[in-house]
């Protein structure tokens, strides 16, 4: 439909509803357009091959003698599809009964319980009893990779995992071994999977056959809360869902976004985020009292910081910002820096090896291991290889966690050293004030990914102590200085961003939705805005 190309369409009827789709569309997808989700196992929208082997998506087509697999059946003009006719439902119910013939029915200890397509469709098809009372076939358990386990008895041989590895990751290391009822999923004997994207096989598994070892027995599906977010592991900004339980991140799963990560994410991202549960956090504001830092409340801290800034006055200084900060943080921070007349703003991005998923060119584990380096560049911050270790006798603002490896004396000479961070590194002791801010997982906000796509993330965890979002803290300081209003909701923070940074012009919090939107002029123009 793009490029002004004429595309033929066909109109068919699915369960009595007319739907017009581009020629070549498969019935399973046409049905989704009118809200009909045909049960399926082997079909996965992100995996190009469609073996039509699970026989779950069989539908009745008027005038055809046999049920047809809707995943491969092309929509045709005038086609009348019945997804829930008696014949189709009977066939589906039978598939479930067949799948349960050898299934151990171990839902009470299965990690997929509650999110299992076998469980779901067993209920949907009302297949709650089996006539099977012969002995079951028992196959056991295997290790697929250093962190993925395979429970063969739960496996329904839909081959999604095999086809993800082969057709999406182009790494034909996972296969179906043996045949017939003895089939199981296997790697080469003695060799485990070793692909930077292999974690996706766990996500595509419709049942509990493939499980991340670090998730085994950790949480039941119904005990977890799911929050839409963006992976902070690199500059790609994969859309993710963060699953939390008891205020801890339990796992992170990719969330579909055709413009960014399709259905996938890399293993680095998954592990990276779960690690953020660890470490000691800054929980209360602290202000300098002689040669000590004293914990205090926000009122006191904010007014103390504002007074100190007034004493220092509009003196040129420097700032060091972490590329983990949200766009809203940056927007408010720049207002503060402008007040101080600080122009030298540096940031450093830790870098790592890249990895790509061959069939999704945009999806890469990128060298920039931070979510918002691009945002910082839009604000005009300067990317440096090493942060300057000596600080002149002038104001210094540090925002974000970048002082872990800073020298002990970092910032000692500064006339005013303000630190906003989530943790308490050694060098933070030299600050005049430590203001505890929250991580991206503890607030709402946006990041700008490697190609200028602004994407929303949402609060998945409660912050520790009385830490608050950076933008909120900064807005209160600015209000105390008499140059703005207190901002206490993310929409207003985003509005502040749109008003103050031209690249974001025209965007709105609601407008970018959960899939994000490119900054002004899209990717190409933005590239010109940013010195490479």
């Amino acid at each position: 439909m793009s490029n002004g190309e004429h595309q033929n369409t066909v109109t068919l009827t699915v369960d009595g509803v007319d739907v017009t789709v581009p020629e070549g569309t498969r019935v399973i997808e046409a049905a989704e357009r009118v809200g009909v989700v045909v049960p399926r196992y082997c079909y996965h929208p992100g995996i190009p091959t469609r073996p039509a082997q699970c026989r779950m998506c069989l539908v009745e087509v008027e005038g055809r003698p046999k049920l047809e697999p809707s995943c491969t059946l092309q929509a045709e003009d005038g086609m009348v599809v019945l997804t829930a006719s008696k014949t189709a439902e009977d066939a589906r119910q039978a598939v479930i009964e067949f799948l349960l013939v050898n299934h151990p029915l171990d839902c009470p200890i299965c990690d997929a319980a509650g999110q299992c397509m076998l469980q779901d469709f067993a209920y949907v098809t009302n297949q709650l009893e089996s006539r099977m009372d012969e002995p079951k076939q028992i196959m056991g358990r295997d290790r697929i990779s250093d962190d993925i386990l395979y429970f063969a008895d739960r496996c329904i041989i839909c081959t999604r995992c095999v086809r993800f590895m082969r057709d999406v990751a182009h790494d034909d290391a996972l296969i179906v071994a043996e045949r017939g009822h003895k089939s199981y999923i296997d790697t080469f004997p003695g060799r485990e999977l070793n692909n930077p994207f292999q974690g996706n096989i766990v996500d595509v598994c419709p049942v509990g056959a493939l499980v991340h070892e670090d998730f085994v027995f950790k949480a039941r599906a119904w005990d977890m809360d799911a929050t839409a977010s963006v992976c902070p592991g690199c500059s790609t900004g994969c859309n993710v869902t963060i699953d939390t339980k008891e205020n801890q991140i339990v796992r992170m799963k990719p969330r579909h976004n055709s413009k960014v990560n399709s259905y996938w994410m890399c293993d680095y991202g998954r592990k990276h985020l779960v690690m953020t549960n660890r470490g000691v956090r800054a929980e209360v504001p602290m202000i300098r009292d002689g040669d000590k830092l004293r914990a205090t409340d926000w009122e006191t801290a904010i007014s103390w910081v504002a007074r100190q800034m007034e004493i220092v006055g509009h003196e040129t200084g420097s700032a060091v910002i972490s590329p983990q900060m949200s766009n809203e943080d940056l927007s408010l921070l720049w207002s503060l820096l402008n007040w101080l007349q600080i122009e030298k703003v540096e940031f450093q991005v830790s870098s790592g090896e890249t990895a790509s998923l061959p069939s999704v060119p945009k999806l890469k584990l990128r060298a920039d291991r931070a979510p918002n380096a691009f945002g910082l560049e839009l604000f005009g911050a300067e990317r440096v290889q090493h942060l300057s270790s000596e600080t002149p006798e002038s104001p210094l603002v540090v925002m974000g966690d970048l002082l872990q490896d800073a020298p002990e004396k970092f910032g000692m000479g500064a006339s005013f050293f303000l630190y906003l961070g989530t943790r308490l590194p050694e060098a933070a002791r030299n600050a005049h004030a430590i203001l505890p801010v929250v991580t991206f997982a503890e607030m709402d906000g946006t990041f700008t990914n490697f190609e200028g796509r602004v994407q929303r993330f949402h609060q998945a965890l409660n912050p520790p102590g009385i830490a608050r979002p950076g933008w909120m803290v900064l807005s209160r300081i600015l209000a105390e200085l008499g140059t703005g209003d207190v901002i206490s909701d993310v929409r207003s923070a985003f509005d502040h961003l749109v008003k103050n940074e031209q690249a974001f012009e025209g965007l709105s919090w609601d407008g970018i939705g959960l899939k994000g939107a490119p900054v002004r002029g899209g990717h190409e123009e933005v590239k010109n805005l940013v010195p490479s």
């Binding site: 009964e97 006539r131 329904i156 017939g180």
Partner: protein
């Protein structure tokens, strides 16, 4: 055992004339008998004419499905600039059938002629003869014949001095019944698991190596040279309007003279079993016959008067299949026999479709249970229901293949199943 025995009902003309005659395996004697003149004739014919002659002859595929061969050939695209392939299906593994092996080991040159004419008709540049791996000895005869034919210039470049070239490669399978299914065969040929694929794409659109391909059975292709030599009218002197010609009958089971017989289609099945094959060795009455290989429906003794044509077998609710009657005498335990058949399909299911992967092995377990006396009446209902759920629901017909004998055995020999259940269990249901 069938050689040199020839029965008067036999028509040993097209396929079996040289079976049992070792000399016929060599190129020299094959040429002495007029071999390869049919290929010469085909080279001088246009592909369309060859296809038309075969169409007119009414020859139907001998692999079991009985699809008209000429029509199949006509599906192949013309002048599309792509390489075309002909696959000769010699993966004979249907229990009961052993006719293709006979052709391969006695008359390999006949098969090569058929392959060449078929290739000519569909514009194939390469013929792959997919022989089942177990046929080691028989394949050696075929190998020799192919090499001889290459050396004589009958296969390869510029065949018989013409501008036409065509290669033949013998490809051996490695033990998989499902490689006899045409898409399974092509997958296996390409070095994949012999898993059938869901059509479309049809072989004539995108078959082996993604190119237009036709898959024909050994017997089908071996019939073609005779049709080309004598014409379609000549071929139609045998058989019926819808089932013309002769057919190799692989007869096995409880028979005095089991073996292969070439018989015109249409002869009553009873005559083949009792006259040609001499009835049961025990002299006891026949209880049941599976007429077309193990994937066809059981016939009871009362149904043996049916005509051995595609339509005649259909009339009695079975099918001609590969024309491989398996005869069971009165002492046969039908449940046990059925369990053994089901076991085969469970063993050979490729495992893609759920109904087949789980259904075949479940059927085996139910039958084992009944066999051992632990069955209940409701198991029969379950079996019937599984039959329904396994029919027409899968990519290929392997699941259907176990249903035909199972359902018919339940229909026709239900009493035998029930007799295995102890009376109290029957009462409980």
């Amino acid at each position: 055992m069938s050689f040199p025995y020839v029965h008067e009902l036999e028509t040993r003309t097209l396929l079996s004339e040289y079976q049992g005659k070792k000399d016929a395996r060599t190129l020299k004697s094959w040429r002495d008998e007029g071999g390869y003149q049919r290929v010469r004739k085909a080279i001088d014919m246009s592909p369309e004419t060859i296809t038309d002659v075969v169409k007119e002859s009414g020859l139907r595929g001998r692999g079991g499905a009985g699809f008209p061969t000429g029509l199949k050939w006509s599906f192949m695209p013309k002048e599309d600039g792509k390489p075309h392939y002909l696959c000769c299906n010699a993966d004979e593994s249907e229990p009961g059938a052993f006719k293709d092996r006979e052709i391969i080991r006695w008359t390999p040159h006949l098969l090569i002629e058929g392959c060449l004419i078929g290739a000519r008709a569909i514009g194939a540049e390469h013929v792959y003869i997919y022989v089942r791996g177990e046929f080691f000895e028989d394949t050696q005869h075929l190998n020799k014949a192919v090499v001889e034919a290459y050396e004589a210039g009958f296969v390869g470049s510029n065949i018989m001095g013409s501008t036409w070239s065509c290669d033949i490669t013998i490809h051996t399978g490695a033990g998989a019944y499902i490689a006899g299914e045409e898409t399974g065969l092509m997958n296996s040929l390409m070095g994949n698991r012999a898993e059938p694929w869901a059509k479309p794409p049809f072989p004539a659109q995108a078959g082996a190596f993604g190119m237009p391909t036709t898959v024909n059975n050994v017997e089908t292709l071996s019939t073609v040279p005779g049709i080309i030599e004598h014409g379609s009218e000549w071929y139609r002197q045998w058989g019926s309007e819808k089932s013309p010609g002769t057919k190799l009958w692989s007869c096995s089971g409880h028979l005095v003279r089991p073996g292969n017989y070439e018989i015109a289609l249409g002869v009553p099945l009873r005559d083949i079993i009792f006259d040609v094959c001499g009835g049961t060795p025990s002299g006891k009455p026949v209880k049941a016959v599976i007429p077309g290989g193990s994937s066809t429906a059981f016939l009871s003794a009362a149904e043996l008067d049916c005509a051995t044509t595609y339509e005649g077998m259909q009339e009695v609710g079975s099918s001609l299949g590969t024309a491989s009657p398996i005869v069971m005498d009165e002492d046969t335990d039908i449940v046990r026999a059925m369990r053994r058949i089901a076991q085969f399909y469970a063993h050979e299911s490729c495992g893609q479709c759920v109904q087949c992967r789980e259904g075949t092995s479940w059927i085996v377990r139910i039958l084992q249970k009944i066999e051992s006396g632990d069955g209940r009446l409701r198991d029969i209902d379950t079996l019937y229901d599984l039959c329904e759920q396994m029919t027409g629901r899968t990519i290929c017909v392997l699941a259907d293949s176990v249903v035909f004998p199972l359902k018919s055995s339940l229909d026709k020999f239900r009493a035998e199943y029930e007799a295995k259940m102890t009376s109290d269990k029957v009462a409980v249901g």
